[in-house]
Symmetry: C2
Subunit: 219 residues, 2 copies
């Protein structure tokens, strides 16, 4: 059984290694964990003894298969709680992580099974990130431009194509950013302009070009 702290290290290693693609170095991990490099060395040694990571002195650390499964477990629980906090308790985006980081470490398979069911087996969290299944399988987040989604779709902005300053400025002006919840309410046949409702509040019309460049997750 891993401690809270060990679980947090694994999560950080998983993220910093981009799901295990590259080794993680001590200083980066120390910064992520807001701790001293000396502490990281100690902890890595411990995680290595538990076969959660592969480690060679001075060579950085790689997450093991076992460690990856554990990390994805914690990530699953983190994201399920986020769905709960937003959908049931009306939390704002910026209040989420502090609480979810505590809740993610609760040990009870039954709780997560039931919570998952209560929430209708969500596949994505409120930020559009995919929720790994019980076996640690991660469905890659599909990103679809608004232009290709049907009227009625309600989803989360997970990215944009391109990054011209003027486009980002426009998005900022109308109040769209990563994580914003949009609903597609209408599409004009003659030119492909789209009416969207932003965060359930105001409705605006966007041009076909804009609709091509805002990506929603299939939530």
């Amino acid at each position: 059984m891993l401690s809270f702290v060990e679980e947090n290290y694994l999560k950080a290693i998983y993220h910093l290694s981009e799901a295990g693609k590259r080794p993680v170095n001590t200083n980066a991990l120390a910064e992520e964990m807001k701790t001293a490099p000396a502490s990281v060395s100690d902890m890595i040694k411990r995680l290595s003894e538990k076969r959660m990571v592969d480690y060679q002195k001075y060579r950085g650390v790689n997450i093991s298969e076992k460690g990856k499964i554990k990390a994805l477990h914690v990530i699953r629980q983190h994201r399920i709680w986020k769905v709960f906090l937003v959908e049931k308790l009306n939390f704002q985006w910026d209040q989420l992580d502090e609480v979810a980081e505590q809740l993610e470490h609760i040990k009870s398979p039954l709780l997560f099974q039931r919570l998952d069911e209560f929430l209708g087996f969500p596949k994505f969290d409120p930020h559009g990130d995919p929720i790994p299944d019980e076996n640690g399988q991660l469905i890659e987040k599909r990103k679809d431009p608004i232009a290709q989604l049907p009227v009625g779709t309600a989803s989360i902005v997970v990215g944009v194509n391109g990054s011209s300053a003027s486009f980002l400025k426009y998005l900022d002006k109308v109040g769209i950013s990563i994580g914003t919840r949009l609903q597609i309410v209408d599409r004009m046949e003659f030119d492909g302009s789209v009416d969207i409702t932003i965060d359930g509040k105001k409705t605006i019309t966007i041009s076909p070009t804009v609709a091509e460049n805002i990506l929603l997750s299939e939530a």
Copy 2:
């Protein structure tokens, strides 16, 4: 800020002292906490330095006002979670405590505010125990016999009058125990017999005597 362990000690001291009425001795606390008496001595010293308890060597420990408020806070959170687990996630009675004992230590006033609201500001937990308010005020649980409650009442069994073996055997047979949820569906005028539904499943008729001796909480 208190640690999980300190919070658990305070809760145990609160309970064993019957809400602060009598001092708690080291061995009792050690048994409750499933730990060695020596560990209890150490911890009490620490809690005493933090002014959470009043302590004189060999004289047992008394919870302080400050400690009582903290303990009631944890108890509040424990009971709110229990309501959630039963009402929203359909937990059974025996699965409750293990999970609630983890959840009760989450630090987030906002979470509990919202959760309380989400659950409709419950005043009692699924066992019929009262939920202290944010200030640690505890409404004493009122125990009313079925015979004195109106038809339509749905509540929790919190106790019984007397304890004759045959009565308890009868209760066991029909499936009633502390914590059972009952609904009063009808009352015969001519003799005061009562029809009750047990745990929302089966409906039985009980005699006026039985109705006089099963106590429900006013939930």
